[in-house]
């Protein structure tokens, strides 16, 4: 099996998953014991008004018909109106998604860039201080919820260091809209004051979001690397004159990365849904906040849309993880057992 075939197979599987997801979430949203017309129009609307509203939204037709109607509209950017914001849900998502996406993407990049080298170096100097640091970081990260870290950081930084960028995304006029991600946009438009302000605002939530992941990834890399140094090939390459840098970062890390990549994918995907508490603490106004508000008010168009966006994010991530695992490990790509 060639790499192209491997990719095609995985992409096809991802599409099937997405169709399944859309069916499921559509069905669930339609069997919710809520009355969207009544909710939208309020307690003083007459029964006839509610019925007319339902007809307008197509809620009186058979479910399968509603599904195809809904799917057709969804694929054409008609995501329906939000009961809460009275706006097209697609527009709401366009506003909220980039904020969360930027937050968690920077977090996952930081997690990889700090966690993986930390694990490798800790493993190469076994018994030294760094492995203790990794272990401590891991335990602290697992034990303390990220929103608590966020609250603590806010208190410490504002009270003791008079650092005031503790809520919101920016405290100067925002940069010209390019991607909707403020930090990225300020770089793209060369807007220095906006860049400084967004960087400051990112600092604390990124620490709060990344701490646990860094510990987890460092620990996973560390133990994986230790296992690799016990392998026969490690000894063999060492006797063939390998420098320890090449041995660790090229040969051992590649095998050790296989579980690390899988966990990074899971972390990234879980962040989009779980960043909610951190977003709340830092008044971030991202997608998670939008989704939770939608759930609390039975705003089913918004619920369906956010679930689908998060679902697509999961599926795309899984695909990327699968593809990179296939790239790293030829046994996966060529479909051979170990």
């Amino acid at each position: 099996m060639r790499f192209a075939e491997f990719v095609a197979r995985r992409v096809l599987l991802a599409l099937v998953t997405l169709v399944g997801l859309s069916l499921l979430i559509f069905y669930l949203s339609r069997i919710l014991p809520a009355n969207p017309g009544r909710l939208a129009l309020g307690p003083y609307a007459t029964q006839a008004q509610v019925a007319a509203y339902d007809r307008e939204l197509g809620l009186s037709r058979p479910l399968y018909e509603q599904y195809f109607y809904w799917l057709w509209n969804f694929l054409h950017g008609q995501w329906g109106l939000s009961i809460v914001t009275k706006d097209n849900v697609l527009h709401d998502v366009e506003i909220h998604f980039p904020a969360t996406f930027e937050l968690i993407t920077i977090s996952i990049i930081l997690t990889s860039l700090i966690g993986i080298p930390l694990g490798v170096i800790a493993a190469s100097r076994r018994g030294k201080i760094l492995s203790g640091v990794v272990r401590a970081l891991w335990m602290v990260g697992v034990a303390i919820p990220s929103f608590t870290v966020g609250l603590g950081l806010q208190v410490i930084s504002s009270y003791w260091f008079h650092f005031n960028a503790i809520i919101g995304q920016i405290s100067v006029p925002p940069p010209t809209h390019v991607t909707g991600m403020l930090w990225v946009d300020s770089i793209l438009t060369g807007n220095w004051p906006a860049f400084v302000s967004t960087s400051q605002h990112l600092l604390l939530p990124e620490i709060a979001l990344s701490l646990a992941g860094i510990g987890q990834i460092a620990q996973l890399t560390y133990s994986g690397m230790l296992d690799e140094t016990e392998e026969d090939y490690y000894l063999a390459l060492k006797t063939f004159g390998a420098r320890s840098f090449a041995l660790d970062f090229k040969y051992a890390l590649r095998s050790a990365l296989i579980p690390v990549l899988t966990v990074l994918g899971l972390l990234y995907a879980s962040l989009i849904a779980n960043a909610f508490l951190v977003e709340e603490v830092f008044s971030w106004g991202g997608l998670s906040t939008y989704a939770v508000t939608a759930m609390q008010s039975d705003d089913f168009n918004a619920i369906v849309a956010t679930v689908i966006v998060i679902g697509v994010f999961y599926v795309v991530l899984n695909l990327l993880v699968d593809l990179s695992l296939g790239y790293i490990d030829p046994r996966i790509r060529l479909g051979v057992g170990h």
């Binding site: 390459l237 006797t239 790293i328």
Partner: protein, 326 residues
């Protein structure tokens, strides 16, 4: 005149769970240029650790307590000496399934091994390619360079061991240590790999240390044999002579336990289990399993003594004139 490789009175311990276990006791071995030596013994007798001590790649919990190892006149027990020795010694391992990293193409790994051996010297791509090809041919890996594009798991066990040997050849070693090189392979492949090793030692003027638990292999491919038991050399000498007239009861037991097609000779095993090395070191290490043991064997460890020309044995019974059942 010192020998090419000399191990003298090597004592090695392993730290495990706060305990110190003596693993090698007073191991001595000499090897001349272009000589093939076999180290024979059961699992856990210390063969592999002896080899790893020569390569300077001991496990982290192993400590050399006393003894010397010199290779080509250089002390390999210093960090610099070990690095210098590694330039001329190559080792191949028991399990070709795990001794090559599965995630890299044969080409990548051979390229790296070659680059490491160059020490910054520049060679053109063509020179490198031709050296890699000739190493593969030297290891009898034919296949028009197809092997180079393959991953290790796409090769058979025998092919992998050949690739391993080719990697070793890239370094142009003057000593090759083969640690159970054929144990994981089927019998016909075993035979091919062994004759390849023998051929290479002759053609490339390499010395060979062949570690094996298989006496047949030692007999075919070595000039000198060291028999190890429980971390000690119990008998050493010219291979043919040891097979014709083993003097140590353990060696005799090993030879008697080789299955034979000759029905007049029955196969015999050695009773008991491999000695635990953490037991109190009183008496001969083999005494508890030895059917010839006399009182003296239970109180003191015998020393290696030359009892026949070139043949050293550590056994009181042999010293007293031979193996008679008591």
């Amino acid at each position: 005149m010192t020998s090419f490789l000399e191990i003298n009175g090597l004592n090695l311990s392993v730290h495990s769970d706060g305990r110190v276990l003596p693993i090698l006791s007073d191991v001595s071995l000499t090897l001349e240029r272009s000589e093939a030596v076999a180290i024979v013994g059961e699992t856990g007798s210390g063969k592999t650790l002896t080899a790893r001590a020569v390569m300077g790649v001991l496990p982290k919990n192993a400590v050399i307590r006393s003894g010397t190892i010199t290779f080509n006149g250089v002390n390999v027990l210093t960090k610099e000496g070990a690095a210098a020795a590694r330039e001329h010694i190559a080792m191949i391992f028991q399990n070709p399934m795990s001794s090559i990293n599965p995630l890299f193409r044969v080409e990548d790994q051979m390229n790296d091994v070659l680059n490491w051996s160059l020490h910054g010297r520049k060679e053109t791509k063509e020179e490198k390619t031709s050296r890699i090809r000739s190493a593969l041919e030297g290891a009898q890996c034919y296949g028009d360079g197809k092997i180079l594009r393959m991953f290790p798991f796409q090769l058979s066990g025998g092919m992998r061991q050949r690739v391993m040997i080719a990697m070793a050849l890239l370094r142009k070693p003057s000593l090759l240590i083969a640690d159970e090189p054929t144990t994981a392979l089927d019998v016909t492949t075993q035979k091919e790999i062994l004759s390849l090793l023998t051929k290479l030692t002759k053609e490339e003027k390499m010395s060979l240390i062949l570690i094996t638990h298989n006496l047949g292999i030692a007999r075919e491919s070595s000039m000198k044999t060291y028999v190890m038991y429980a971390g000690r050399v119990v008998e050493a000498g010219p291979t043919a002579q040891i097979f014709r007239k083993p003097l140590h009861p353990y060696t005799k037991g090993l030879i008697d336990s080789i299955p034979s097609l000759d029905k007049s000779r029955s196969m015999e095993g050695i009773d008991g289990e491999i000695a635990q090395q953490d037991r109190a070191a009183v008496g001969c290490c083999f005494a508890s399993r030895c059917s010839y043991a006399i009182d003296k064997c239970l109180t003191r460890q015998p020393e290696l003594k030359e009892l026949a020309p070139g043949q050293k044995v550590a056994c009181y019974v042999a010293e007293q004139g031979g193996l008679r059942v008591v």
